[in-house]
């Protein structure tokens, strides 16, 4: 492709680089080029947050930025989460313990948003603030209360 550009992104701690069409969205770089399909696309209007990833420590909706904008950045996707709960992080385990997911489609984005929210707040956060903090991520299955409980579980059980 004559108009392609070289993009290099550290994804989950591993250096990746691909020659991409400049208009390629970060989410498609991750899904189509890196075959990291845990990051989902729910809406093309950036409403749902299923595509949420961390870019240099900030939560970002990966369907709203171009891969070239993440050039040189460190990206963490759901596949990069890990922890002491049978390999799962406290947030992942919280969702399992509290039934914070049903179909699982919004879940990767929800996990990333919750991880970012807990890091940002240092865990000092009310249920109300959890709800406000996750309002960029839509879930159609759970009605959210169990997601709030899941995040609370993660805060209460975070490894010290």
């Amino acid at each position: 492709m004559s108009r392609s550009v070289e993009v290099s992104i550290v994804v989950n701690g591993r250096r990746t680089s691909h020659s991409v069409d400049p208009r390629t969205l970060l989410v498609h770089y991750l899904r189509d080029r890196e075959r990291l399909t845990g990051t989902h696309v729910g809406f093309d209007t950036s409403n749902c947050g299923a595509c949420t990833v961390m870019v240099d420590g900030e939560t970002v909706k990966s369907c709203t930025i171009l891969a070239v904008q993440a050039d040189g950045c460190e990206v963490t996707t759901v596949e990069g989460l890990s922890g002491p709960f049978d390999g799962r992080s406290a947030v992942q385990e919280g969702f399992r313990q509290c039934h914070g997911l049903q179909c699982g489609y919004c879940t990767p984005g929800m996990l990333m948003a919750a991880t970012g929210l807990i890091e940002e707040s240092g865990g000092e956060i009310s249920d109300e603030e959890i709800r406000e903090g996750l309002e960029g991520n839509l879930c159609r299955c759970t009605g959210y209360e169990m997601i709030v409980r899941s995040v609370r579980w993660a805060i209460d059980n975070a490894p010290s």
């Binding site: 699982g104 009605g143 169990m146």
Partner: protein, 772 residues
Amino acid sequence: MSLVGAKVLRKEDPRLLSGTGRFVDDLAPAGCAFAEFVMSSEAHARIVSIDVRRALAVEGVLAVYTAEDFAEFPDVPGGLPDLERPTLARNVVRFVGEPVAIVVAEDRYAAADGVQALEIEYEPLPVVATIGDATATDAALLHPAHGSNVATVVPMLEDLERELDRCDGRAHLHIVNQRCVAVPIEPMSCVADWGVDGLTVWATVQAPHHLRNYLANWLDIPQVDCRVIAPDVGGGFGSKIVWYPELFLAPVVSKRLRRPVKFTQTRSEAMLQMAPGRDQEHDIDIGFDNDGRIRALRLVVTQNVGAYPDPTGLGLAVLTTWMAAGAYRIPEVQTSYRTVMTNTTPVAAYRGAGRPEAAFSIERIVDVVARRTGLDPAEVRRRNFIPPTAFPYETHNEAVVYDSADFPELLRECQRLMNYDAVRAEQEARRGDLSKPLLGIGLSCWLEIAGFGPNGSLEGFGHLASWESAQVRVQPDGSAVIFAGSSPHGQGHETVFAQIASDELGISFDRIQVRTGDTATVLQGIGTMGSRGVPTGGSAVKVASQRVLARAKKIAAHLLEASEHDLEVVDDAFNVRGSPGKKVGWADVAWASFQPLSIPPELQAGSLEERLFQESPNFSYPSGAYGCVVEIDRETGRVTIRDMVIIDDCGTVINPLLAEGQVHGGVAQGIAQALFEQMVYDPATGQPSTANLMDYLVPSAADLPDFVAGRVDTPCPNNPLGAKGIGESGAVGAPAAVINAVVDALAEFGVEHVDMPATPERVWSLMQGGSS
């Protein structure tokens, strides 16, 4: 310990939490091309010309197809004569978003470029976007050959005018149950790969065998050459039972291009193409005496089915009229319905499918009876409830015999948990205090029809049958695999069915796997809809497991030289009662079951397998009492839910954690219908004005309250589990609770009804004396 009834964590979760779930768009078979529809920009128009040349010239575009390229194939199956939906629009487009052409390209970006480049010239036709316009005497016709925009009519036997007039009082409401969109977070997606070994279609659907049955027929190929797989499915809520054109066209395109082809909707496409639900108008009349007793009820339903009647869309109003009388003993009930076509997206099932509409109208008008008689809404309900002793209860429709319920207990528990009397006192104290928000209390004592179903019930919607299948197979090591015909989309079948099987087989939960959603491996199946997963599919698992255990006991008894009647199975082993230590492990029994020399002569090798088609003698009828307390801002009309109490009766509960999750999700959608969501079309042009999620308000965590949940269990007598189903309950019961609370809060303004969604604008204008 019994696992049925226990809060067991889900088998599905480790993969879904680690990003290793597999949804259709995650699949990328080698050489996969990407296809995208060119959608109609017009609600009703003649297609004058389609110019594909510029689209074909776009770099990466492989092919462009229009209707004439599929002329040898039939229309989308399941339609009514003269009203069939074409897979691609032929000559005329009838709703905005209707697929007109397909662009296939190397990737999704090139496909989008091709779609942009394709040129279609339209000649406008008169648009009928509303029920009113479609049924006007001089209305333009969507399907001139049909002669009317009314697709079907079921009239009423008598109009009940005399009975209504004879009552002390009568009331009428005109209720608009607005069009809502299911919005599963995963939009439609399918991949078709038609190679020399046959066709495989991966599709995000709720009923893969149902699709296989119709697709093979449509393509005129044997079913054995047509494999449909529903992998992880990202929500459905009814919208993924529908026959969308890409499910039929993708295989043809794959065959022609000799490579796999993928369709994946963007959300903007999904909002226009995935079937919405509801969209009924009701005229409901009720006759009552001064003591609050209801004597007569008449419900007239008009269903907007959109541009092409979908088999499910046509059936929604049937369920509405069946459930018209709700939880009440009403001596005279009459119903009628008609289905009307408009220049809008075809309507089909959305969580509850016809039953939320019934529950909403009866629960709304019972509140009107309370208002007119001066009785408390709870008291009016109590005076009219079908008593717990009256079940099975025959209703106004012979197809509908309620199985079991305890409405007084549900309401009592609901009132207790919402501190009903205290909130009423608070409301009274607050009246006239302009410094505080308005306070309203709403009740909804609902029931619905579920557990589809009895023989004949799903056939009417085009399904092969109404049973559900399970195949239980014990492996040589004593682990077990269950092939379940009910294919899930978030309900947790892998967990719940393993709980049921573990209890019956005595095989530990971790040694049971549940397989679903693949027509090549799963015997046969009907699908997951109508709250039938546990009552019908789960019962199949239970009975099949029991039969396998009975044969396993014969083998164990043979090995132990004991009587099979003395055996009990605990912790993966068969123990002889009263003889401690005399036992044989499940693994040994399973191993022996495949060895002709090790089994009793009446059995054959491989007997620890059972395939079962579970039929139901009747439906199940989940019920509940929901209570809602709202506050309304006097300045803005904004409604805030302060308390939401939900008491459910779903019969036997398999997993309380998952059951609560189902109710929460349904209640969230019910609240969303009551307060936020509506698919709106410009009545003049048929252009949707809520075609994306900037305008169509799907609630976030910040928009919804916590729920207080409780349960009353009356087992269903119509299936071996005693389960009624729980998937749709919340969406059925919640809207009336919320709106009754809103109307209650607005009582001082003389408001008797508010149509959904009760937006700030709508509520505010009612407070100014406007109409709803």
